[in-house]
């Protein structure tokens, strides 16, 4: 075995790349291994059809952490964002949520005067909550058996920051997070249409309806990176998400890190309860003193480390992680802009079909019994509107996120239902954009099964495990192993399955690298 590296990072996605950049900058000899030929995993853009570029998995780098971007100086490595004036445009009602909250409020007057008045307060409150969650996201969660003073002091800092909400505000914060989004939204708004758009954001990547406790946490979490317009933070990388990976890779390499793509890991080598390196599919072995994996806990521990290396208790915990992917995406190469009843500017953000919380709930009802929702929540994005490099001139690349498309179908499987889903989406959108079908030059449907097989998402779960209240903080990725540690010494979990979770924040990897640096000398 060669001994050229201190640390191997498994996974060339933004988490893995951010981790390797941090590790390399700290002077460690780091190697990133990525299974696919391209970097990014499910956070990437691909030229699916000649001239048309799509963000094939995550729709944007919504929660990318600004502090991380600064520390790694990603701007100097070519990272740049498009300005999106719109957070969301609601099909059906035509409500537009601008990034400028005041503008939203003034337009809402047409729909509901009380809601217009309530909106600014709601958006401010959500932003305050999101700011607290963001501080939490940058810390590793304390374990119950492992809670060093240094860490407790930092969490006490978060608690003090939360106190600035005032006693009443703090109480509300504690009360709101475990609430259902529906209940939370009903406290603020009357308009079903407005509640519907926000409800759609509250269930992103979740296999739960907006009546589920904890969906208000998800609504706030989606605004972690700020500038959310009360809806969700969205940062659209110029040139597609592949550009984000290029910037991160450049930062890592600039600090001396190595990156290998097309490297399929066979297993993690373990000696005396401690990692010793990895073995690749071809039999090549690479030694390392520590491993940081950003793939799912399941793949890392159950497949690569292997059941016999784990305690039965930990195997049970790992197998109990709820992944339950329920997101499918339909990518459409269009010969022109769809004829939505809206100004072009309004279409630059999320185009949302979710007329009411009950609509979302009914869509979920079907998924609960293993069926594709007949009337799904759709969120369409046309990044080519703001970034002409993504599609040939005059043509457009539109990606439609479909919820709920449950990974586990009761009748049939996704290989049979893939095109049914594509047809359903085009047909549903045609009600709002007549003639859409004729504009479609090419179509690619990516189901949860495809996300698992081709993008390494366990059960197609974008967040490597549901972000329900039971799988957060100390419970993430599994109880007993918070703080990015794994049940094997020298192994760290820095994927979206770890705290704070999914959303292309880069923080799980970045935080895990910090933990590793403290613990592995």
């Amino acid at each position: 075995m060669s001994g050229a590296y201190d640390i191997i990072v498994l996974g060339g996605d933004p988490n893995g790349l951010a981790a390797s950049a941090r590790l390399a900058r700290a002077g460690r000899r780091v190697l990133v291994l990525e299974r696919r030929d391209a970097l990014g995993g499910a956070t990437t853009s691909e030229e699916l059809f000649p001239g048309f570029h799509f963000n094939t998995g995550w729709p944007d780098a919504g929660l990318l952490d600004a502090a991380l971007v600064n520390k790694l100086d990603l701007a100097s490595h070519g990272l740049d964002f498009s300005d999106i004036p719109v957070a969301a445009y609601a099909l059906d009602s035509g409500i537009t949520l601008w990034r400028d909250v005041l503008r939203t409020a003034s337009e809402l007057h047409e729909h509901s005067i009380p809601d217009a008045q309530a909106f600014v307060g709601y958006a401010q409150e959500a932003a305050q909550y999101a700011a607290i969650l963001q501080r939490m996201a940058r810390l590793e969660p304390p374990g119950l058996a492992h809670r060093p003073l240094r860490l407790l002091a930092r969490w006490a800092g978060v608690a003090l920051a939360a106190r600035r909400l005032g006693p009443r505000g703090l109480m509300d914060f504690l009360r709101v997070l475990p609430m259902s989004a529906q209940h939370y939204l009903e406290r603020h708004f009357q308009s079903e249409a407005l509640k519907g758009v926000l409800a759609a954001a509250s269930v992103s990547e979740l296999m739960q309806g907006p009546r589920a406790a904890g969906t208000s946490f998800k609504l706030v979490y989606g605004q972690l990176a700020g500038d959310s317009g009360g809806y969700r933070s969205a940062q659209r990388v110029k040139g597609g998400l592949a550009a984000l990976n290029r910037a991160l890779a450049s930062a890592a390499k600039g600090a001396g890190g190595d990156i290998r793509t097309g490297a399929q890991v066979q297993r993690i080598l373990i000696e005396n309860y401690r990692v010793a390196g990895v073995e690749l599919a071809g039999g090549e072995r690479i030694a390392a003193r520590a491993i940081l994996s950003t793939t799912s806990p399941e793949q890392t521990l159950l497949d690569w480390a292997g059941g016999p290396q784990l305690q039965p208790r930990d195997v049970r915990r790992l197998r109990n992680i709820k992944y339950q992917g329920s997101t499918a995406t339909v990518h459409l190469a269009l010969s022109g802009l769809p004829a939505f009843e809206a100004r072009e500017e309004q279409l630059s953000g999320d185009i949302v079909l979710c007329p009411s919380p009950d609509y979302a709930e009914r869509a979920y009802d079907a998924a609960k019994y293993g069926q594709l929702s007949a009337e799904p929540i759709l969120i369409a994005r046309i990044p080519s509107l703001l970034d002409s490099s993504l599609a040939p001139t005059g043509q457009h690349a539109m990606s439609v996120t479909v919820r709920y498309a449950p990974y586990q179908l009761r009748d049939g499987d996704w290989d049979q239902k893939r095109e049914t889903l594509g047809d359903l989406v085009v047909k549903t959108l045609e009600r709002y954009a007549p003639g859409l079908g004729q504009l479609v030059l090419h179509r690619k449907v990516i189901t949860p099964l495809d996300y698992e097989r081709d993008y390494g998402l366990p059960e197609g779960s974008f967040t490597h495990g549901q972000m329900g209240l039971d799988q957060l903080l100390t419970m993430r990725p599994i109880a007993g192993f918070a703080g990015y540690r794994a049940p094997i010494d020298g192994l760290y979990l820095g994927g979206d399955g770890a705290h704070p979770g999914g959303g292309v924040s880069g923080l799980p990897g970045y935080n895990a690298a910090g933990q590793l640096l403290r613990e592995v000398r």
Binding site: Y273, L302, G306, G307, P308, L310, Q311, P312, R313, D314, V315, R316, R319
Partner: protein, 400 residues
């Protein structure tokens, strides 16, 4: 309501006392005869037949079967040849004992494990990532122990095809009783010469009948749980829920035990393959176990003195007692005796006990609480070697 075992029709016909106990949900005779002492002496002097079917039984097979067994038990399976039997505890992740039982290696990759408590889920979950099948054969497999100095002769009379003289202690053989196939293991829970037979439940009654027939001339008697309990105390054998609590049923930390604390350090192999709990036990081995499992002898003179003061002869339980008694050194509580017995054959008051390791040296004198006419008194108790009773014929191989 407990249900009958595969031998119930025979046991019920012989059980004069109608004294039954619920053993893992099965009806088990406590004592067949008005005095269980006859049954006890049958095993020590002749032979006894004991229905041990309520034990839980599992079969582990498949390409990785030996790896799984190695992962479960604290002993090293590579040291166990086909046809050999191991007695072993198994532990949870923290090195605390879950249960104990025997492992019989039937084939290179096929094992049978007995357990006191249901264990399918634990065995299966310990094997994640291994190619094995774990099957619960508790109900399909009846089990019958034949124990005592004459047991070999009785059994040999029924099993024509194998030579029991050549079956060493803790070994197994496949045999046929007439047309009935069975496994015979030279194991038992009495500390005497003895065998256990593992038979498909549908043949159980016929096996019982043939053994009773063959044993008539040897003094073979059916033996109930009361006598068995005495025999196993003399043999220094642990009983779950009496001498120790499984970590699964313990309510507090102090109710759990490591193998070292149960005197099973000899059954922990830290050199061999990794097993569940090994990492914790490596640490405990280094530190030393805080408690030890020991035998105690209470001098008869002490009992005579205590009871004599009340003008009574010493009163000792005729059966093994399972009510734990506290142990002291001076004013310090140092442990508890968990099984007590006046041994008919040793003519001594003996006990199995868990004590603070500082007071576990052989010859150490402790005090045990004895109740005389409703008053708590203390008698001396001396730490002594286990087993109390260990006849040379237990392990002897006649022919070899």
């Amino acid at each position: 309501m407990p249900i009958p075992t595969a031998f119930h029709s025979r046991a019920a016909a012989l059980c004069q006392t109608q004294e039954w106990r619920d053993w893992s949900g099965y009806l088990s005779a406590i004592s067949y005869q008005p005095s269980h002492e006859f049954e006890y002496y049958a095993v020590r002097n002749a032979a006894g037949l004991i229905d041990v079917s309520p034990l839980y039984k599992y079969e582990i097979s498949g390409p990785d079967a030996s790896r799984l067994v190695d992962r479960i038990i604290t002993r090293d399976v590579s040291q166990c040849a086909v046809g050999q039997v191991l007695y072993t505890p198994w532990c949870d992740e923290n090195g605390k004992v879950i249960d104990d039982g025997t492992v019989t290696r039937l084939e290179a990759q096929r094992f049978r494990i007995t357990a006191a408590d249901p264990s399918l889920r634990w065995f299966q979950d310990s094997g994640f990532g291994l190619d094995t099948e774990v099957r619960d054969v508790s109900r399909e497999l009846a089990a019958l122990a034949i124990q005592g100095p004459s047991s070999r002769a009785v059994l040999q009379a029924c099993l024509k095809e194998i030579d029991l003289d050549r079956l060493p202690y803790y070994h197994a053989a496949e045999a046929k009783l007439g047309e009935i196939p069975l496994t015979v293991t030279r194991t038992g829970y009495t500390g005497d010469l003895g065998y256990e037979l593992w038979i498909a439940a549908e043949h159980a009654e016929m096996v019982w009948d043939r053994l009773m027939e063959a044993g008539a001339g040897y003094g073979l008697q059916p033996v109930g749980l009361a006598a068995l309990d005495m025999l196993r105390v003399e043999a220094g054998l642990l009983l779950i829920d009496v001498d120790y609590s499984s970590v699964r049923s313990a309510h507090i930390e102090s109710q759990t035990s490591s193998p070292y604390e149960l005197g099973l350090g000899w059954a922990v192999d830290l050199e061999g393959a990794d097993f569940v709990g090994k990492r914790a036990l490596l640490g405990e081995k280094e530190r030393g176990a805080p408690r030890s499992f020991v035998g105690l002898r209470v001098p008869w003179a002490d009992l005579e003195r205590l009871f004599g003061a009340m003008d009574l002869p010493p009163q000792v339980a005729g059966r093994a007692s399972r009510s734990a008694l506290p142990l002291y050194v001076g004013r310090r509580h140092v442990g508890q005796a968990t099984s007590m017995l006046f041994s008919p054959i040793l003519k001594e008051y003996i006990a199995l006990a868990t004590v603070d390791s500082r007071y576990a040296r052989r010859g150490q004198t402790l005090e045990i609480e004895i109740t005389v006419e409703y008053k708590r008194q203390r008698a001396n108790a001396t730490v002594s070697k286990l087993p109390f009773y260990n006849p040379p014929w237990k392990k002897a191989v006649v022919g070899g």
